[in-house]
Subunit: 390 residues, 2 copies
């Protein structure tokens, strides 16, 4: 049995980035860039007015004949004389031999003649070509997270496709003879299966879309067969249940017989002790305890960072914050505890009913409280580590 | 011209929740529940063993004949005598007249006879019927956010569909003769259009999927026609550009001629002063300044909370945190500033180049710094309000 930190290190050592894929910028939100991008152009691509006003050549003159109009998008290739000006609007092209724009509020106009009432300094209100970025300058380093602002910036440089780390294809395998699909009649002794739909939503939450769920009875041959398929067709396999030591727990045996290398089995923690992590070729496998609250805790603490590594992230763990605990906690178990909690700006409280079979506490929790195995007592108002959820 | 807080109040008063829709629990992540849900069943639905071991009737006896095996999912309707026990596994049905389960580690077994070496207390290791939740008990209040844990809990109660607030259908209308679609050749005087794809990704980021983008030239008739369609077919219309006072800015006129009620126009802020907010029937309209950084700031500060109200959220604004500013700031503009910044655990710095036309600063920022119009000077190391992004 290993400690939580060891388990996390083993995961970090054994997960790797997914292959690089070219995708449309429009579909790239939340991906990690797998290439360094340089600008294909100057931005702005021409000298641009930043005001509605008049463009002219700065000199001793204060009065000009207005000879043309340039709205945004327009272009003018014509000699403008020293005593002439061009009516111009924000974003418009500034003709090559003009150097200054006066804002319209600082002019008076009569009969196609504009008089400047407040003279701007030379070069005022003109954005230079390449002022934002020049051709071949760095746009984004490799490993940048694609945000809406990044998408906007790439798009304004005319970039339509980028290389990113692909997202993994994930199989969810749910074991258990007791499980009945929701919507059907529930025979005595059975319960509704909820882990596949819950894990599916967890995966959606980290932006993964290629997800397939499989159900299998507690039977070695059937388990081996499904896992064989999943190990060859998916990047990540999440198995729910069948990983304890009961007579009907076949998952570990079926994983090993399929050639999965065991990287760890069992963590000194509560909930979620019987957690298995392994690897076959590039496919990683988590076998999660079947109790819903254990499954979910295991997802947030172990599966989530593994998926983040796959997707190319550098910050792979859910962020931790510190809060004062609202009542004393005793931990005589010698295990690391992940407690369902509720935090606000100042404090965190441990919610009642921490059973690993129960999801109702989880559904009202907004955080997990992390208590290391080697701290037996925490006094009220001492700071603890809190992992906010959602 | 109004202040930021007034604008936010007007938005809050004029936006309302979307109609209620029934959706599959499997597709409900991130929706807000529009009904109060009571449990259709007891959970667990029967008395359940929480251990692998032996079920028996607690008495003075220490030794039992093992007469049956019950794995999870099994059921047994048979009288078990006082001197008999049933081999049982975690999650399995506990036969009606038995009351206690002893964990297998506290037994020795020989020839179908089990001897208890450490007697558990009566009722030990048996989860009661309805221990987690009883039939008709409250599952979730109306207005609960659907998280993965909530999805798991609903699913384990056999609930497959729930009523939630729908998400709005959003139209993006981009105006500007200077705009060319990325991928095409860029004529002189033109720039690539980036706001539609950027706004689209912002909407994706809040979970909105029904999005359509329209492009229109700077021309009153064409603008009126597109807006007429959008106002009748969408819940939210986001117009980009054409909302200043230039001779080619037709958006406001086209909105008013289409019967849109003006709720505000222009906010005392930088960037994003010429922001228009209006309403026609139940459709809300934001006309955003066309400069990319203004568009994006306006989205985060004004459009985001409006969409959150539509979707039924109570916490509608992006969370604010406090950080010490890493250098003094002077604000003599009399306007509220939203500055692109970068924050860490302790401090926040103002990034260089805050131009509203430039997205590159935004792309490396991780926060907006909020400086109210009525504070002219902020000393280094004073706390400021920071709005983390992403």
């Amino acid at each position: 049995m290993i400690q939580v930190d060891q388990a996390l290190s083993i995961i970090a050592e054994n997960c790797c980035k997914m292959p690089i894929r070219k995708i449309k910028v429009a579909k790239s939100l939340g991906f990690i860039l797998a290439e360094t991008i340089f600008s294909p152009m100057d931005m702005p691509p021409f000298r641009q007015s930043s005001m509605d006003g008049y463009a002219f050549l700065h000199s001793e003159l204060q009065q000009f004949d207005v000879v043309n109009t340039l709205q945004a998008g327009g272009f003018l290739n014509k000699e403008i004389k020293k005593n002439q000006a061009v009516r111009i609007f924000t974003g418009a092209f500034v003709p090559d031999h003009l150097d200054t724009v006066v804002m319209q509020e600082h002019t008076t106009v009569e009969n196609k003649t504009v008089e400047i009432t407040k003279m701007p300094s030379r070069f005022a209100n003109v954005r230079n070509k390449g002022e934002q970025i020049k051709e071949n300058e760095l746009v984004f380093e490799k490993n940048t997270l694609i945000t809406p602002a990044a998408i906007g910036f790439l798009a304004c440089l005319g970039i339509t496709e980028i290389r990113v780390y692909a997202k993994p294809k994930v199989a969810i395998v749910v074991t258990g003879n007791e499980l009945v699909k929701a919507g059907k009649k529930l025979p005595r002794g059975k319960i509704f299966e909820s882990n596949s739909i819950m894990l599916n939503s967890c995966l959606q939450g980290v932006g993964i879309k290629k997800i397939e769920a499989f159900r299998v009875k507690d039977n070695l041959k059937a388990t081996e067969k499904i896992l064989k398929h999943c190990l060859s067709a998916f990047d990540v396999v999440l198995v729910s249940g069948g990983i304890s030591v009961g007579d009907y727990d076949f998952v570990k045996e079926a994983l090993l017989s399929n050639g999965v290398e065991e990287l760890f089995y069992k963590i000194n923690q509560k909930p979620g002790k019987p957690l298995f992590f392994g690897k076959k070729d590039k496919t990683i496998v988590f076998a999660l305890p079947g109790n819903p609250a254990s499954t979910l805790t295991s997802f947030y603490i172990y599966v989530h960072p593994a998926l983040k590594i796959n997707m190319g992230f550098e910050a792979i763990h859910l962020p931790k914050i510190k809060r004062k605990i609202s009542s004393a906690i005793e931990n005589t178990s010698g295990k690391t505890l992940f407690l369902k909690g509720f935090y606000d700006d100042e404090k965190v409280s441990v919610l009642e009913s921490q059973s690993s079979a129960m999801l109702n506490t989880f559904a009202v929790a907004n955080a997990l409280i992390y208590l290391p195995y080697d701290v037996a007592n925490i006094e009220k108002d001492l700071e603890v580590m809190v992992i906010p959820l959602n």
